[in-house]
Symmetry: C2
Subunit: 590 residues, 2 copies
């Protein structure tokens, strides 16, 4: 098939659109792939739709290969099922809600767990019907607070969402692994640079989850990966390598020290290093030798609030988002001055483990960083104004109520898998796989009879790919300063033939070559525009990003045409005689 | 590819769903093709989605063949463009409206004229860019007052909408004809029984329009067709064959007659037939000899109301919907008693042309049926209580302000093309083609520079096909008492293999034949369900409606399998040896 640029509904722009912050948005608009209709709402123009179809094809291939069955749910959905699972409310302002002419409440589906669960409930009743995997590629809606970056984070967007249904946990784990493998294949075929991150499952509930993050500086998600390449995780999901407890025997006794004028950890540590009687011989005291106790308030789903103390080494900060992921669905905020006043045992600036925890006089729950293992000694607050305590030993002098992963992750932290070094990076979520478990099945009453005729609640997995987002991410990762640069499998055409000259010979030669290429089964984009200079056509071919460009120009008179590789920029002259077959062979071999 | 019913997400129901009024709805639900989520909102299950993909393929083929370029607009649209064309208001309660988190007004697109117009305005600026045809196959929303009949009239539904853009009227006419031919090919390939009806363009504006109506007793649209097959039209669009004026010379003078106790046209005519001095020699007076003047009120778009008198032969009724189509966008209602009182010249029951029209004493606009040509004589009201006038001649004794097509069409009316006989029938709109003209381009400022460098407003056509509706209509037209009966091009599978028996030989034989059929490139549905009797499987195969059914049963022991034609019920035994190739050949030849 030959797409002629003289009639194709595409226009390239020289200028960047004013509202485009990121490369993919800028280029997809400039190259005429997408157009903005409203914030976060885009039209896919013919070139964009061609890329989308290619992405969809790859996804369908791999979903079908793991036995997924495709169907399509509506986007306009009634309130009731989302009320039953609590998400009508939980989604808050992110949900588009509307009323129909009779006043009935509807929503535009942000994700379809409820509908899939109900469909299976409608059809299936026996363990013999399972396992089952259903999927759809369908338009979803989220009223993002900050729709940005073009189709990277839209308010109307295309998702592949699939759901697995199993009678037991082993089945769910297998379904999850099948999806994981399929996702790896899909993202590999799409040519993405990505990592699979352990993730917290957050608001979705459930027990295990991984995110597929495209590695990208403009990403909104921070993740860590081991420089050895054996581990990647969401910041929220990183775990600290386990540290063995130290022996308690022979440790010096705790000692309360007057520490006037030490408003910061730095000044406190200085004081300990300067005073002869407090100094250590082997090395200077550091912030990491102090134990900082941070006072917070949790808000539980029922609205109740309760205090929480978190103890972390003084050289680390508490990452509230990370902490929140651990205590979900509770929300976390710093303790206010007024709340502080309600606990007379707390001496501001001098809070120590002595008053914290189940046995402490405040009774406030006390969780510590995993580095605070039994046998470690700390300089920390002595619960008296102007005084700290040193040599306070965990497991001897105090016993926390538990540990919590709450410190802000830093470059150089240790990998939980091999003890290697972690580094922080930014990514964009392109896929997410969850072991949902029985949350939705329970809420909506999806049970089947097991082998003994007993009703058991079905266990589910939920698996998503951002389809329109994937296009933007691929554009983002592959583009260069000259324009888009599509991986072959996704390109809107296989080859871009440029008629570089105004003579009839060149026009006819380009058209003939395009036809000959199409005859080999390739999809050909032919730049046959009149009144457009070769220079503009070359620039456009680089902007549009088809991987192979063929220039039919002056050298046609000598029987030669030029092949350019969009990515590498390599050029080669080949005889026009037999060119179509030769180009087709090269493309098919790639 | 082999679809196995043992794992396919489909369930057949023996009972009709309680809310299903029509055959297609009943069967599509019973056969597991669709499921209702809310009134007028449906899920397409795997079997339904397969049919949809086939319908889409046919449509894309033919749209691409006329140079249509596919793109996809969003469904969630901002208010502004629809405000500019007046449709934000005009659509009334049929439009789903909603607000985003910032309070911005949005709608769910019922049709996309505005968006296409703006896209072309964004890209194009010269007559050289035209002609252009764009299309999408996309989800649309209308908040129907009475969503009914399953996917036949949904509130969320799939449409193919396309739009042509031309610089002049000739171009528009050509684009319109290209679409018309493409639609004929599409509906022919879909196996539909349909007529192309002349239509009023109604709220869409524009100058010419035709509807593609599937002939169907459950249809909501009434249309007429000539028994000679050369004409079909919407009731609103039917035209009366032109009647030549008659000579005025020699006609008897008008004569006022006392007509007491004639409350109805029948009693009036009786009186004329019974009184010696009024009787005609050649034939009795009939209701068709009287002229009935019906008093109505028009409501104009600006809210103003004005009276209208419509004169029709006494044997005909005024069809308000038909009249409304002629005076659109004005709305029509009978004149109320209070409004009547405001016109003292009107004598109730005795209104005649004398007081009507521009020159009449009431000044009320007076339009007559096209049968009231100059030289026709009428018995009509004399504008005095208890009196009628006879021999009142149009063009001599009164002059209407014009004619109007307003009488209710009846079986037996004359065809405007060949004077043949019209008959009324019912249909379902499956396609609609409009010459929109410049309405949207004007409202949204879509101009291009013509050859002389002058800005001219682009003229547009708008062309729609109800894609999900087409599935229901095809089901409706092709189903029989046993179930669905798909045309080959749309069937969810090419062949349905039934394993009719529990022995391992039969199961293996059926599976092998299914694989062999799939190897020839056919899509195979294999009923490999355990614990399901052959009788239930046969019933399900007829319910599901795949055109060719192959039964692998007891006769497999003798090396034979049976082929059944779903439509005709014909059965044939053939040797299992070579059966796949033979069946494939038959199917490909069909």
């Amino acid at each position: 098939m030959v797409l002629k640029m003289s009639t194709l509904f595409v226009r390239t722009l020289r200028e960047d659109p004013a509202d485009a912050e990121v490369t993919s948005h800028r280029l997809l608009v400039r190259a005429g792939y997408v157009r903005r209709v409203a914030p976060g709402i885009f039209t896919l123009l013919p070139m964009g739709l061609r890329v989308l179809r290619n992405v969809e094809r790859v996804i369908r291939d791999e979903m079908d290969a793991i036995g997924g069955q495709e169907l399509t749910f509506p986007a306009l959905l009634p309130r009731e099922p989302y009320e039953a699972t609590g998400r009508w409310t939980e989604y808050g302002a992110n949900l588009f809600r509307l009323k129909d002419r009779r006043g009935g409440d509807y929503l535009l589906g942000p994700t379809h767990e409820e509908m899939f669960t109900l469909a299976v409930k409608d059809f299936y009743s026996s363990y013999k019907d399972l396992p089952l995997t259903l999927y759809q590629i369908q338009t979803k809606y989220r009223d993002e607070a900050r729709p940005r970056a073009g189709i990277l984070r839209g308010r109307e967007f295309l998702m592949k969402d699939s759901y697995s249904f199993d009678v037991d946990d082993d089945g769910l784990r297998e379904a999850y692994q099948r999806h994981r493998s399929a996702y790896v294949k899909i993202f590999d075929r799409l040519g993405l640079d990505y990592v699979v991150c352990s993730a917290m499952s957050g608001a979705m509930g459930g027990s295990a989850s991984e995110e597929f993050l495209a590695v990208c500086d403009i990403g909104e998600d921070t993740f860590v990966r081991c420089t050895n390449g054996d581990y990647a995780a969401n910041v929220e999901a990183v775990t600290t390598p386990q540290i063995a407890a130290l022996p308690l025997e022979g440790l010096p006794a705790a000692r309360v020290v007057d520490t006037p004028d030490t408003p910061t950890i730095e000044t406190l540590v200085d004081l300990f290093n300067q005073r002869e009687d407090l100094r250590r011989d082997d090395r200077a005291w550091g912030a990491g030798d102090t134990l900082k106790n941070v006072m917070l308030m949790l808000t539980l789903p029922d609205g109740k609030r309760e205090p929480l103390a978190v103890g972390v080494p003084g050289d680390r900060e508490v990452d509230l988002r990370r902490l929140e992921a651990q205590v979900a669905p509770a929300e976390v905020a710093p303790m206010s001055e007024a709340e502080f006043q309600q606990h007379p045992a707390l001496v501001k600036g001098y809070i120590g483990p002595g008053v914290l925890g189940e046995k402490g006089s405040s009774g406030i729950r006390y969780l510590v960083d995993p580095r605070v293992v039994d046998g470690t000694s700390w300089i920390t607050g002595a619960d008296q104004p102007g005084k700290h305590v040193m040599n306070l030993v965990a497991g001897r002098d105090f016993t926390p109520d538990g540990t919590v992963e709450a410190v802000r992750i830093q470059d150089g932290d240790l990998c939980p898998v091999d003890g290697g070094t972690l580094e922080l990076a930014r990514g964009i979520e392109i896929g997410h796989i969850f072991q949902l478990g029985r949350k939705y099945a329970k809420a909506l009453g999806l049970t089947v009879l097991d082998q003994n005729g007993k009703a058991v609640t079905v266990t589910m997995g939920s698996y998503g790919i951002g389809v329109s987002r994937a296009i933007a991410v691929i554009a983002e990762q592959t583009a260069d300063e000259r324009g888009l640069c599509w991986p072959r499998e996704l390109s809107p055409a296989d080859v871009h033939v440029v008629a570089a000259g105004k003579t009839e010979e060149i026009k006819a030669g380009a058209a003939q070559l395009a036809d000959a290429l199409a005859a080999t089964g390739l999809e050909v984009l032919l730049d046959d525009r009149k009144d457009v200079s070769p220079g503009v056509k070359f620039n456009d071919s680089e902007l549009l990003g088809v991987p192979t460009i063929v220039v039919v120009g002056k050298r046609l008179a000598d029987g030669m045409v030029e092949i350019r590789d969009r990515k590498t920029g390599e050029k080669e002259e080949i005889p026009v005689e037999g060119a179509a077959e030769r180009i087709a062979a090269v493309i098919r071999a790639a």
